[in-house]
Symmetry: C2
């Protein structure tokens, strides 16, 4: 079997997850890594894979000729710049996750990919990504029902990288991690089909574990956290001060989980209840994103083989394109 030739662009937690995921997908082969810091990556990987300077894309795209490049940079600064540049040279897939800027990012990627004749699947992972798909399915199959997303349903909650980063910008905070908790009463109301109007603070609470800088005032830091607009002010926020050692040992890893719930009614008189609910729980959030990216890399290659061009999201792709199985196998075993 000729394997799919995959490159990784950006080698942080998601990039490492993609490397692991490629090993778990027998049709995929990692043929190189592009990084802004190739020396760091070469050292970490002990020359197991060719490493290129990200900005030398016109050279490495010709030399390596990957079927698809999985972009693993951050959504804030990396992808808006790297995405439209890289898709001039190669097919790409990324996990751009700044929800409010997705239309704008889609347009930039679509324009660049169309004019260069490439395929770019954007904004995939579990949210946006699987959850986007489930929101659309829920809303299509139960018309009129709203699709609600909750995060951190397990007892430990879900680690939010964005909110952890926000905590670290506060004066007096040396290190921090933020766990999001779904509010069980709100989840229950949605499951019951009430279709309630919920504010962000009705749906989630936030739990912070903070290591203080020497001499920082806990009361002042707490005040700065709970009053932070957007990130913490709208929520019931708890601040716990811990030692660096405790943070590194007890609050390690990247667990996250969430659920999309759509509830409504069916029938002529709306007599019958209808509930659709997709839940996922991941021991490692970046590895989850990586797994979804790799399945979408397979779809990118198929779309490109069909001669398609431009930007796509998970909403534009048939599920069979994510699978290694043939139509016959899918009809026989999975329908």
């Amino acid at each position: 079997m000729k394997k799919n030739r995959v490159m990784i662009a950006g080698f942080g937690n998601v990039g490492r997850g993609v490397m692991a995921s490629i090993r778990n997908n027998p049709d995929m082969e990692l043929v190189g890594i592009a990084s802004r810091s190739p020396e760091r990556v070469k050292k970490e990987l002990k020359d197991a894979f060719p490493v290129y300077k990200l900005s030398d894309v016109s050279a490495w795209s010709r030399e390596v000729s990957p079927d698809v490049v999985i972009l693993c940079g951050g959504s804030k600064a990396d992808l808006p710049q790297q995405g439209p540049e890289l898709c001039k040279y190669v097919n790409t897939v990324d996990s751009f996750d700044n929800h409010s800027r997705i239309p704008e990012y889609f347009k930039a990627m679509d324009d660049a990919a169309r004019s260069s004749g490439h395929v770019s699947v954007i904004s995939t992972g579990w949210d946006p990504g699987i959850f986007s798909l489930e929101r659309v399915l829920g809303n299509s199959f139960i018309p009129g029902a709203r699709a609600y997303g909750f995060y951190g349903l397990g007892p430990a909650g879900g680690l939010s990288m964005g909110h952890s980063d926000a905590l670290r910008t506060i004066k007096g905070v040396k290190d921090a991690r933020q766990y999001t908790h779904a509010i069980p009463e709100a989840v229950d109301r949605v499951r019951r089909g009430e279709n309630p109007a919920l504010t962000p603070g009705d749906m989630h609470s936030r739990e912070c574990f903070v290591v203080l800088e020497p001499g920082a005032d806990p009361a002042e830091v707490t005040k700065a956290i709970v009053s932070m607009p957007g990130y913490f002010e709208p929520y019931d926020t708890t601040v716990n001060f811990v030692s660096q050692e405790e943070l590194d040992t007890v609050y390690k890893g990247f667990p996250h989980d969430g659920v999309v719930i759509t509830a409504g009614k069916t029938g002529a008189d709306g007599a019958h209840s209808a509930l659709a609910e997709y839940r996922c729980a991941w021991g490692s959030n970046p590895e989850a994103t990586a797994n979804v990216l790799v399945a979408h890399a397979r779809a990118v290659i198929r779309l490109a083989a069909e001669g398609r061009k431009g930007a796509f999201t998970i909403l534009d792709i048939p599920a069979s394109y994510f699978s290694t199985l043939s139509r016959e196998e899918l009809l026989k075993h999975w329908m």
Copy 2:
């Protein structure tokens, strides 16, 4: 807005559900019903819609010219005959649910639809249908994990029409309904990621509510039920005898629910847990099927407008095709 012109072929519980669902989908318009018993349907609907004789398809397909016909016949005798015949004249969608015969039915529909230039989406509903999609997504996003289906997770269990019908074939049974229950310990093992080897009897138990014919022997009927191969023999089966009145009042309606669970590991050393779970619960099983059929009718029309031909399943269709929303709305609100 020009509405999508939909016909219903076959007017039982699913057909009635489709009629109700079309009212809840503002882009859809019911333009006629085809039935083997048009007089019965005319009477029931008090001439609210034109009703045609199913076998007169060459006439009504020209007269009504529907965009799509939703086939609501049964999978055992109706669809294998009606499907390939009707798709010579019109675009169709159906809920053929005999899992083991789907490859054969797909081929018959694909051949007939291709040669007549129509689109036929087959085997959709919640299982097969949404569950097929979730099995493929689970297996694609968590490679190596098996996707398990459980039914009847709620306290009441799920009403199985097929098993209820099987009970009614037994000598001495006047009427009956069968509720399927998922075995909670098996669900827990799958959720924990054990990927266990489970027999049908490990996963579900069966609860029967039976009305006896006058003079029938309860012990003999019980023995005949619990020893019935395939249907009851492999399961822990409970038989309860009730009066017709109790059956009609307490065990009425068509509730059903189920879950697809895929659990596995991510990462280089499989260090991190991964769980994906799709659950749905419906007060009315036929109305659930109807809602999914109507969303797929929208997809049929779009596939036909693209000039596509032949048979399709939910695995071949992008999620956006099920939605009334535009690409811009989907990118803005649902990604």
